[in-house]
């Protein structure tokens, strides 16, 4: 997909002016937060489980090479095939090759961010294979030619009226009088249309929430059941997953499952947690005949051993964006690539480069709400700051910004000069405040005064007044 992250500011302006989007974003603020709170409050062990989940992933990352080897051996032992892909292009080629060998025309897909990351749909399409997204939200945005705006609720930027219009546009069998005004009817329509697709597909492609080293199992966690139909009905099942999805044992999965759904949707468990190990067994009457796993690196191995290693603990629950005031304001598309919100602000520069993704870690108030809800205790603001440090070291910030900051720091490092300068400036600013005690416009402060008044300072600085007070006190004591 095209990367528009460098145009984040312009994207954000468009998003802020989009009434439909702003209405839809209200659903994020209203829905996810309360549900998560209730689910967390109902489990006294939740905070302990967060620690445990963090520790499991930290252990995995420190031993990732060995767990990958163990996992691969188990997949092979269960009759599956493991393919390694260093880059997105390699992963695409591997998947295309599998599809071609299966003589595939139609491919169904379960919801997967990793296939968004590698731009799989466009690639398959270009090569004459029709990808059909089966998750309701993904299906809707595929009809619109869009990308997900949220990692677990891909169509969260849309309202039902927009979905109805899209269905009427694309589903040409729909009679005009069919009532599609409510989500129930829209879901029913998508269900009908997609049912036949599951049977038509030759290959089913899913992502994975976990890869289990102990057993060679891949796990998907879903609510709709589309992922399961995608992987049980076609002849070939392809799992695409990045290397950090590994967990050691099923018991470790169980720990992380207890924080995953609660953090994501406020459910205790998602409806379907499906553990898949290898292809159809002897005597089985359904299930895929081939089982492939495409293990993707695409920049993850380079994050290990750096200050961004902790980001690889991410389990893609979406809690960070659900709680992010910036995401609430601009939605996911403004971030300009696959991963939005705080997790995207950290991950995107790692994967596409800080020269292109640099806005994202800067566009944060550091309010810390993301970290406070992250089930894996990823220090997201800290890592966004690390990106800012990398940018600063490389001189990527705008020159005016660097100049302003440098000037300020020059004084802040020299208390006597600072005292002098502020004692001169503040009375002037104070005068400008007039009787109302506020300033409506100020040169070089347009970013502030465009949207708000600038409260005027009191007449003199605290330090000036304190010094006078001390002097009076000394005199009185004499």
């Amino acid at each position: 997909m095209d990367i528009t992250s460098p145009a984040f500011k312009a994207n954000a302006r468009v998003a802020l002016a989009d009434g439909q989007l702003q209405k839809a974003l209200g659903n994020v603020r209203a829905g996810f937060i309360d549900k998560r709170r209730k689910a967390v409050d109902a489990l006294p062990e939740f905070e302990q489980l967060r620690d445990r989940a963090r520790d499991i992933k930290n252990h995995v990352l420190e031993h990732l090479d060995l767990y990958l080897e163990a996992y691969e051996a188990k997949v092979q032992a269960s009759g599956g095939k493991v393919h390694w892909a260093e880059t997105a292009a390699q992963a695409r080629d591997i998947i295309l090759d599998i599809c071609r060998k299966a003589d595939a025309r139609t491919v169904t897909k379960g919801k997967s961010m990793i296939t968004e990351e590698i731009g799989l749909n466009d690639f398959l399409q270009e090569n004459g294979i029709r990808p059909v997204e089966t998750d309701l939200g993904e299906y809707i945005i595929q009809l619109r030619g869009e990308h997900p705006s949220h990692i677990i609720a891909p169509a969260v930027h849309l309202n039902k009226e927009q979905v109805e219009a899209d269905f009427r546009r694309v589903h040409d069998h729909l009679p005009d009088h069919r009532d599609l005004s409510e989500p129930e009817a829209l879901l029913g329509e998508a269900r009908r249309v997609l049912r036949s697709q599951y049977f038509e597909a030759d290959v089913g492609i899913t992502g994975a929430n976990f890869l289990v080293a102990e057993t060679g199992t891949s796990i998907i966690v879903t609510n709709e059941g589309n992922g399961d139909l995608t992987q049980v009905l076609p002849r070939v099942h392809v799992v695409v997953a990045s290397i950090e999805k590994i967990v050691p044992t099923l018991e470790d999965v169980s720990q992380i499952l207890r924080v995953l759904a609660r953090s994501a949707t406020g459910q205790e468990m998602s409806v379907y947690t499906t553990l898949s190990t290898g292809p159809r067994r002897k005597g089985d009457v359904d299930g895929p005949e081939e089982y492939h796993v495409v293990l993707l690196d695409n920049g993850r191995s380079a994050m290990l051993g750096t200050e961004f290693q902790d980001m690889l603990r991410c389990i893609r629950c979406g809690a960070c964006m659900n709680h992010c005031p910036v995401y609430h304001a601009v939605g996911g598309h403004a971030y300009g690539w696959v991963y939005p919100g705080p997790m995207g602000a950290v991950l995107t520069p790692s994967l596409i480069g800080v020269d292109r993704g640099g806005h994202l870690p800067n566009a944060s108030t550091f309010c810390g709400r993301c970290e406070s809800v992250c089930p894996m205790r990823i220090p997201l603001p800290k890592m966004m700051r690390h990106w800012r440090e990398r940018e600063f070291e490389r001189g990527l910030n705008p020159a005016t910004q660097r100049f302003g900051l440098g000037l300020w720091a020059f004084f802040a490092r020299r208390p006597r000069l600072y005292r002098l300068a502020t004692a001169l400036a503040i009375p002037v600013l104070s005068l400008m405040g007039g009787r109302k005690r506020r300033i409506a416009w100020l040169p070089f402060a347009g970013g502030w005064t465009r949207h708000r008044e600038l409260p005027a300072p009191e007449s003199r600085t605290f330090m000036q007044q304190w010094r006078d007070r001390e002097a009076v006190a000394r005199q009185a004591a004499r």
Binding site: K9, A12, R13, L16, P325, V326, H328, A329, V330, N362, A363, T365, F366, C367, G368, R369, S372, R385, W387, R388, E389, R390, E391, F392, E393, N397, L405, G406, W408, A409, F411, A412, R413, P415, R416, Y418, R419, T422, G433, R435, K436, R437, R438, G446, G447, W448, R450, H451, R452, E453, L454, P455, A456, P457, E458, R460, F462, M463, Q465, W466
Partner: protein, 260 residues
């Protein structure tokens, strides 16, 4: 003020970290802080060599300047029993982030760790350290309290200011919707991404107005200037003040951003 340990004659020496915004824009908060800290049985001094906590540099990725400013601050406050700041954000910087700036420099890191251990945000210092349970102030008004992000999430400040406010005779605290959601200030964020900041603060001022309070209180002047600036631009009658002003009974000055 009552509740503090009155058995000991020793009055701890507190260094007031004024914060640059209070120094420049609203000295009243500084004097209110001095009054409250003295009232809790401490002596207060104000080192003249302090400037800013260094967050603008630190959060812009400029570690070199951030560290240089941290050195100035640490040197200014060595020798005090406590360092108190009327800001959760600045206190958070001094307490949670300074040691990390000196990683790999053993001597300075030790100084930074020792310094950080002495740092407290004002309301937390009064309640958690000095055991203050009430203030001797009467004020008939209705207030709402915004939890500033750093204070809330880095330092766990939530109940302390509310506990002290509840001791003001005649004062009623009405909670706004989502008092713990960011106001959109974010330091340099509010000018670098002013449109987004504006969208965030608009939601905040809507919650403030809906709460039906006369006064908006918070523990951080940055957030207050942002919210007050927006409230005034929108023509709201809600006054904005730092919580210390009310607790110290020093709210006779014009509110932040003036009257309506």
């Amino acid at each position: 003020m009552t509740g503090m340990n009155e058995t000991s004659d020793y009055r701890p020496r507190v260094g007031l970290f004024v914060t640059c915004l209070v120094d420049l824009f609203r000295p009243t908060i500084g004097f209110a802080a001095v009054k409250l800290i003295e009232g809790s049985g401490c002596t207060v001094e104000v080192p003249m060599t302090q400037t800013c906590c260094g967050q603008p540099a630190y959060n812009s990725g400029d570690r070199t300047d951030a560290r240089a400013i941290a050195e100035v601050t640490i040197e200014a406050f060595e020798g005090f029993d406590y360092v108190v700041a009327p800001s959760g954000s600045c206190a958070g910087m001094l307490k949670k982030h300074y040691p990390g700036l000196f990683k790999g420099d053993a001597a300075w890191e030790a100084r930074a760790v020792a310094f950080s251990a002495k740092v407290f945000e004002l309301s937390s210092f009064l309640v958690d350290v000095r055991g203050v349970t009430r203030v001797d102030v009467k004020r008939k008004t209705k207030v709402t309290y915004h939890d500033s992000c750093s204070g809330l999430r880095e330092l766990g400040i939530r109940e302390q200011p509310r506990a002290l406010l509840s001791s003001i005779k005649g004062l009623k605290l009405v909670e706004m919707k989502d008092p713990d959601v960011c106001c959109g200030f974010g330091g340099t964020f509010c000018v670098k991404y002013s449109d987004i900041s504006n969208a965030i603060v608009e939601k905040k001022t809507a919650s403030i107005d809906a709460a039906g309070a006369e006064i908006l209180l918070a523990g951080d002047l940055g957030c207050l200037m942002n919210m007050a600036g927006k409230l005034k631009r929108e023509g709201s009658a809600v006054e904005a003040r730092h919580v210390a002003e009310l607790l110290a009974g020093m709210d006779d000055t014009p509110p932040i951003g003036g009257w309506k």
